[in-house]
Amino acid sequence: MAHDTAHTDVIPEEGHLHHTDYMDSHDGEAWGGGKRPFKASYGKLMMWYFLLSDAFTFAGFLIAYGAIRFSMPSWPVPDHVFSAFPGGKTGWPLIFVTVMTFVLILSSVTMVRAVQEGHRRNKRGVIFWMLLTVIGGAAFLGCQAWEWNTMINVEGVTVTKNPFSSHLDSGTYLTGAEIEGAGYDKVTKDAHGVTATYYIKPGVEDIEENRLFVKQDHHGHVMSGESFSPKDPYLITYNHSTHLYEPSAFKTPDGSIKTEAFGPIAFGSLFFFITGFHGFHVFSGVLFLLIILINVASGLYHNRTNNYEMVEKIGLYWHFVDLVWVFVFLVFYLL
């Protein structure tokens, strides 16, 4: 079995000078000269160093994410945010993103298989496994599209808005009567053709930010009387019939009445930016995979005697995308 990939490009590519053909033609010590010190072709080395620099780009983003998150007094709780599943399911924390992660791992596995088939110069095998990898990548992108759509259109998280957050102190949700008892006026008003009920302090302008609502969950169940502790998650419910965000009223242990506020907008902007940047890598990876797949099918790499090194190089890139996802998954979904 010809497993040694150290023998590479003998057939010159257009526009390239080829050093490779002399590199292995000499015997000698590990670095007596005439041999590549790293026993890898220049193409593979360049791919590694490109990935190293790309890792620093992602590191820049993720470290900025960390700094911003540390600077916020409260932060959305991921398993509260990411709990939807296709088919209208809710309350399934992290299940969908686990599926996404599996898809990406599987496509990494098929990629390794494609590289292995390349080493034994099995063209049909390479095509088969690369095709599966492309399907895996496309499936991941599809999942991401669904997730983004849910986040934006169902949950209401955008780059400038975030209804999710977590409580800073403990408290108890109030009933309408308790809010009125604390000196607020009850207002029943037609908003967007639907009747909305909320409470407002006398003499204060009746605008969205000043309104208090009785806490309801997604399904419209009243939650007054329930208490919570610091760090517990909440969601400012978007009322689809009134088109209003409903900041709910609660009472803190010292007796003051507070409302739930919008969460840090950095959450949404960082989420869409970083997962988007990762998704862009997946997308371009799928494109490169397709181009190389076509080249494999045309027999281009079969004629080179380098055991399909191009497949190996795109494989490195593809695993890197998986590698980045490990950290995106960690910081956005787990921590």
């Binding site: 990939t5 010190p37 890898a40 190293l52 470290i63 700094a67 960690l330």
Partner: protein, 138 residues
């Protein structure tokens, strides 16, 4: 490159798949069990969850680089030339995060001080009472 035969390396891949899948499941399990979703009333300490999840993720990263990306089979110099520079990020992580933390503390402090000023002014300064404050006190 690896000295493994085709059949052996195939086995390694499927083993890798299982390892990564299990670790991912473990991570999610830690996140969900730790927050009491699975067993009512059971919560893990936050620090333990963080250590577990970060540790498992780092292992996953190591596994992808060393097995799937074949770093294990490369010359040590090549491996080090890629891995060692990542160490430069350690201090960056420490410094950036502690900076973020200090912005948070300062904002909180400023908010606290702002609140104090409004409450304390009439009491502390005694005679000097702004008309605006009188209105607010009512």
């Amino acid at each position: 490159m690896s000295d493994l035969s085709y059949e052996e390396s195939k086995k390694v891949v499927y083993k890798g798949m299982i390892v990564l899948a299990v670790i991912t499941l473990l991570e999610v399990a830690v996140a969900l069990v730790g927050k009491g979703y699975v067993i009512e009333g059971l919560h893990l300490p936050v620090w333990l969850m963080y250590v577990l999840m970060i540790g498992l993720s780092l292992f996953k990263a190591y596994y992808i680089v060393y097995e799937f990306m074949h770093m294990k089979y490369e010359v040590k110099g090549l491996a080090m030339s890629v891995i060692l520079p990542m160490g430069l990020l350690v201090w960056a992580v420490v410094a950036f995060f502690s900076e973020g933390n200090s912005w948070n503390q300062r904002r909180t402090l400023i908010e606290k001080k702002n609140a104090e000023t409004i409450d304390d002014r009439p009491k502390k300064s005694g005679s000097i009472i702004d008309l605006k404050d009188v209105k607010n006190l009512n």
